[in-house]
């Protein structure tokens, strides 16, 4: 049976047609069309008669109370222990930013004494002082360029350090750890999907996930699986390339079709 025929039969079953002549003729044309019409009509009328479900006042009040109880309890959960290396990475990134700022300020104000801001036993301050000494002993114009380039390099280092900590909002450190682990499994071809393959190979489900990944702005990605870590995430990797140790693996929140996290490389 063709798609437009089924649509016509369904419209007849729902009573949506002003002129039913064509649809009636189609239904009478074969036993298959007749049984399709009967099925559509039976199911539509049965479902249409299902009464609307309502929350009682008590349930409604309990719902709001429970939602707020849980939301108010969340700051405690959010304070879950953060791995030590995260704190150090943030500290290192912060230090690089401060040094970068000091250098930039120094370029614009020759009278500025950056070492006064940094303690003398600070290794970063020492290396900065060394840079200053080298700069002051050489030709100004050239040095300015070198110094700016140095500042850029420092900033790049800072960026790289920040890059180690994925830019994620609303994910707890344990969730990130788990997603990182799952990204590793994906690269090694060891990912066991939560739904795809295990429960369903429904092409429509795969299409649905693909649309969700596209909605998350990853139209150049393929769905490679799905996982559940607190939430349901679709796992996606760049299309048209084999997944290897350096492949970035994206996790899209399946509830809202938003990119939740990208693991850059193993």
């Amino acid at each position: 049976m063709r798609k437009h025929e089924i649509e016509l039969i369904a419209a007849l079953a729902e009573g949506r047609l002003e002129d039913e002549t064509e649809a009636r003729a189609l239904v009478d044309s074969s036993e298959g069309h007749r049984s399709e019409y009967e099925a559509q009509k039976t199911a539509f009328e049965t479902l249409h008669a299902v009464p609307a479900a309502q929350l009682t006042e008590h349930e409604s009040a309990a719902l709001r109370r429970d939602v707020w109880t849980q939301l108010r309890a969340e700051p405690t959960q959010a304070a879950a222990p953060v791995p030590w290396y995260y704190r150090w990475t943030y500290a290192a990134a912060g230090l690089f930013v401060v040094i970068g700022l000091v250098i930039v300020v120094d370029q614009t104000n020759p009278n500025f004494a950056p070492t006064a801001l940094l303690s003398s036993d600070d290794s970063a301050a020492d290396s900065f002082s060394a840079t200053q000494e080298r700069a002051s002993s050489d030709d100004g114009a050239t040095d300015t360029t070198e110094s700016v380039a140095g500042a850029g390099a420092d900033q790049e280092t800072a960026d790289a350090a920040e890059g180690d900590v994925p830019a994620v909002a609303g994910l707890t450190a344990p969730t990130i750890d788990e997603l990182t682990d799952l990204a590793g499994q994906t690269r090694r071809g060891e990912l066991k999907s939560f739904t795809l393959g295990a429960v369903s190979t429904d092409q429509e489900l795969i299409d649905e996930m693909t649309l969700c990944v596209e909605a998350a702005g990853l139209s150049d990605h393929d769905v490679v699986g799905d996982v559940e870590v607190e939430h349901h995430y679709i796992v996606a990797a760049p299309a048209r390339s084999a997944i290897g140790p350096e492949t970035p693996i994206a996790f899209v929140d399946a509830d809202i079709c938003e990119l939740a996290y990208t693991d850059q490389s193993g």
Binding site: A10, A43, Q54, L55, H58, R64, V67, E204
Partner: protein, 182 residues
């Protein structure tokens, strides 16, 4: 002001920390969220849990709402996905169906349960549908959503929803027919 526009303003206030605004959003959408979840999950207690999860997720993700769809559609989408998650968990950890949970203090509960009850053979037929088909027929035929609205809620093209609704109805009629003959 239209309801969707008002919802969008309320959600913006939620992001700014206005809890009353979120209460208003819950009041406006809780019944339909619950109804959708009840028809998909088939169990009042699970539907209440899913409704709660839906609003928790909506609150947590309020700042991510981009306004591409109506707030209601966005919330129903979260609800359907929450129900899918529950069904998946159920499949992994099958459990005995829970009895209808009634709070003795809630005298209207029995009435509400009875008013919302569906024939057992219809419940069984709905349960037999794949979750994606079940959600499509619930939104379209039980909740009376238009196909474009159902498509937006499910996050799939209209053609896909049509296909799921028609195929879902066919399967449902088959199950109902089988139950009647057996």
């Amino acid at each position: 002001m239209t309801a969707p526009a008002q919802d969008a303003l309320l959600l913006a206030r939620v992001v700014e920390g206005d809890h009353d605004a979120f209460n208003e959003i819950m009041r406006a959408h809780e019944s339909r969220v619950f109804s959708v979840c009840l028809r998909i999950l088939g169990d009042r207690e699970k539907a209440l849990d899913a409704t709660q999860e839906t609003f928790l997720a909506a609150f947590r993700k309020a700042h991510q709402f981009k306004g591409n769809a109506a707030v209601g559609t966005w919330i129903y989408r979260i609800a359907v996905n929450t129900c899918y998650d529950q069904l998946r968990k159920q499949k992994r950890r099958p459990s005995e169906p829970m009895p209808e949970h009634l709070d003795p203090a809630d005298q209207s509960a029995q009435e509400a349960v009875e008013a919302a009850a569906v024939r057992p053979e219809l419940r069984q037929a709905l349960d037999a549908l794949p979750p994606e088909f079940r959600a499509a027929v619930v939104l379209s035929d039980v909740e009376g959503m238009s196909l474009p609205d159902a498509a937006e809620t499910l996050g799939v093209p209209v053609g896909t929803v049509k296909s799921r609704v028609f195929r879902g109805r066919r399967l449902l009629a088959k199950h109902l027919g089988n139950q009647m003959t057996s």
